[in-house]
Symmetry: C2
Subunit: 416 residues, 2 copies
């Protein structure tokens, strides 16, 4: 690297890229005090060179041709364009050229991290990705540096701000999913195509990355349990609430007797659980270590500046470290079968035309050996029944029988 | 240091020291995988060699003479004996001999940190103290490594588990301070001599250390605002609650126009503020950065294993780093006068024999220009009056007048 300047290339000048530019400028003094060198953006790749940007940027820095970035003398490239293609190819080419990479791209890492880590190690460059998980919260750094003596039992959390925002609004304003989603899109809290967020993919990518850091391995994405929030409705949220719980899209990576497990699922948290207090677009990560116990980290998981903070902190940190290869990423197929039948869960039963009476339903469950700890029943004489219950021993066969005998649809959610 | 073993000395084998011993043993494999060397405790100083310990320890390791520790070939010493004398002299001697130090002793650091940091730098040894602030939460590491590009505006939090436990019990069980303190002592949540905790000293020591890390300087302890919880009573807690707030012992270090400020004070937090959710013996630290926004870190702030976790993580981390001098600690006298009169505060007015009527009191405040945002009045005809109000413009002169004219005692607490 040149003696007095760190030359930075940017792939993407959108929400995060714009924030990175602003941050490098506003924090320039601090950066150069720490690094002993100025940090300068020397090339920035975009799709559309004519687009008006929220942050002023010299015309001669902007390019739409990746080859120009590759040919420039950048020391380090910040990848904030997102997506897998053509991004993966670009990042590979830069690593092969000897550039350090800082990325916020969880999808790329969850899909090609194993190859990228190996490649970066081979070429002696750093691949840094703090911003890819939980935005401004420095959770990866903490796991990597300050919790390595602990055996980490699990990492769980609220890793997607969009869905947490939607769930918060649904509960507080008693508005249905579709309406809240529309509002969230208008306010910029959700993308035009919300699939990656609401279907749980985004949270799963982050969980995948956390597992690599904490357990040294992850599951292929297809082997994780993933359920989004698209089908959640106010009936479920309301009954859960009456039972003393809040539904959150909980992401979890854990390793126990049955091997590594990754899941992203709408989950009931007791109202006084710290993760249940995390509202709106905030993220939070809970780490359980065998010595330290439970730690909780909370902050803005997305947005221009919080994400840019993680990118620029990562970049500065990386420049103060000597290169050491990072542990390789590994994927292993899940060890055994998942446990059949949920232990303790929230069962939501609904029928628009009940055949029978609520009493008959609860008797059936009782005889079938389902242990109900707590329940709320809503029933009106037009035969619309809703039951929310915290129960153990509810299995697939009960679901089928309820449908066959009573015309009830049952859905099951985990309870923390 | 010897090639295959890290030789550790312990000063103190009490609550934390016992936890450190257990952790070094249970996590030995992880430690030696990471460090490439076994970690072995080779000497342990105690006061009473005959005492039964909760953790088995070979007799020949135990000593009651510090000189034996100093004469042994330890590479690194864990100071978990506490107090300032004779600890300060011991730590100085060890540093001068070239030993690295890991300490959990916030009092020592707040009183002699400036000298110890300088001495450690001079002798090229590391002085590590993650465990001294917020127990198992790796807040110092995060501030030092992962938030250095941000301008930190303030660090605040609940840094003392004992007082938070007492306040939680007082509120939940409506029991007076003295009774809860007694229970806390019986349960081991409070020391036989609780002064350092309940008077706010312990939290202030930690705040002092946080300020050194974040702002590169701190105030002499006498220049900080410090108020404990010994005089809090249920009347205040109850009225605050009715107004939508919870009283917490809030510690804060901030730097703004008026220079550096340190304070530890019972403070009203809105019930939905993340720090208001921190109950029992938990600690939490909130960091506000100009780029990242607010981050919250929560976990066990004390206790055998959480504190030992911080000690052992610190020790392992230190052994993987090359020595670089740490920024010197500085103390500066406060810049100007503190602002007179609280801006927006909680005023608690009480009279056991009111001269006048509640109406006359509120009229007086109104005429005096005190702006009341919200209030709750409790009055019975035996002339016992309690008023809780969130107000602005309440000053010392009003306090005096209320006492003179109405026989009212007024107390003022900050509101977040
Ligand atoms: N937004 C957040 O809060 C957030 C938080 C954490 C992580 N992330 C991650 O950060 C990355 C960027 O997110 P973002 O919200 O900043 O995205 P964005 O606003 O859509 O910006 C993407 C930028 O990349 C450019 N770009 C996209 N595809 C390109 C291509 N094929 N060739 C050249 N330029 C291309 C775009 O150019 P034009 O401007 O010309 O269209 C734009 O400047 C993603 O991986 C995302 O998952 C985002
Ligand atoms: N306890 C916590 O949860 C916690 C959390 C964070 C930080 N800390 C800090 O950690 C330190 C230790 O706390 P602790 O709770 O472990 O204390 P502790 O249980 O009272 O243990 C103190 C140990 O030091 C030994 N000791 C004390 N004075 C001595 C002297 N003058 N000469 C030789 N040995 C002496 C004692 O010996 P004997 O056993 O023979 O009496 C005992 O083994 C303190 O600085 C405290 O502030 C504690």
């Amino acid at each position: 690297m040149s003696a007095s300047v760190v030359k930075v290339g940017l792939l993407g000048v959108g929400t995060v890229g714009g924030g990175v530019l602003k941050t490098i400028r506003s924090q320039q003094q601090k950066l150069s005090d720490r690094l002993g060198r100025r940090v300068e953006v020397v090339k920035a790749l975009v799709r559309n060179a004519e687009k008006q940007r929220s942050v002023p940027i010299e015309n001669n820095l902007i390019t739409t041709r990746f080859e120009e970035v590759l040919a420039s003398d950048v020391d380090i490239v910040v990848e904030v364009m997102g997506g897998v293609e053509p991004t993966y190819g670009y990042v590979r080419a830069l690593i092969e050229k000897g550039c350090h990479i800082v990325t916020a791209n969880k999808e790329l890492l969850a899909k090609h991290g194993t190859e990228l880590v190996r490649l970066a190690n081979r070429h002696g460059v750093q691949l840094a990705y703090e911003a890819s998980v939980a935005g401004g919260i420095p959770i990866l750094g903490v796991l990597r540096q300050f919790l390595r003596t602990n055996d980490i039992v699990s990492v769980s959390g609220i890793l997607n701000g969009t869905t947490n925002y939607i769930l918060t609004r649904m509960e507080q304003e008693k508005l249905p999913y579709a309406e809240v989603l529309k509002q969230a899109q208008e306010l910029g809290y959700a993308e035009a195509d919300p699939a990656s967020d609401v279907e749980g993919w985004d949270a799963l990518y982050k969980t995948y990355i956390l597992a690599q850091l904490v357990f040294g391995e992850s599951l292929p994405l297809h082997a994780a349990e993933r359920q989004g929030i698209e089908k959640l409705h106010l009936g479920q949220i309301g009954l859960a609430r009456e039972l003393g719980y809040r539904i959150k899209l909980l992401a979890k990576a854990s390793k126990a007797g049955g091997g590594l497990q990754l899941s992203v699922r709408p989950t009931l948290l007791p109202l006084d659980h710290p993760l249940a207090q995390v509202q709106d677009a905030y993220n939070a990560v809970q780490v359980s270590g065998n010595i330290v116990g439970d730690l909780l980290f909370m902050g803005k998981g997305a947005g221009e500046l919080p994400t840019a903070s993680a990118v620029v902190e990562d970049l500065a940190y990386l420049l103060t470290q000597r290169f050491t290869p990072q542990p390789v990423w590994q994927e292993s197929e899940p060890a055994g079968n998942r446990e059949a039948g949920e232990k303790r869960c929230f069962c939501y039963l609904e029928s628009k035309a009940l055949r029978g009476t609520p009493d008959q339903v609860t008797h059936f469950l009782d005889r079938a050996g389902v242990l109900v700890e707590k329940q709320r029943i809503q029933y009106d004489w037009a035969s619309v029944l809703r039951i929310g219950m915290i129960a153990s021993g509810f299995a697939e066969e009960h679901k089928k029988a309820l449908h066959r005998d009573f015309g009830i649809r049952a859905e099951v959610f985990p309870v923390l």
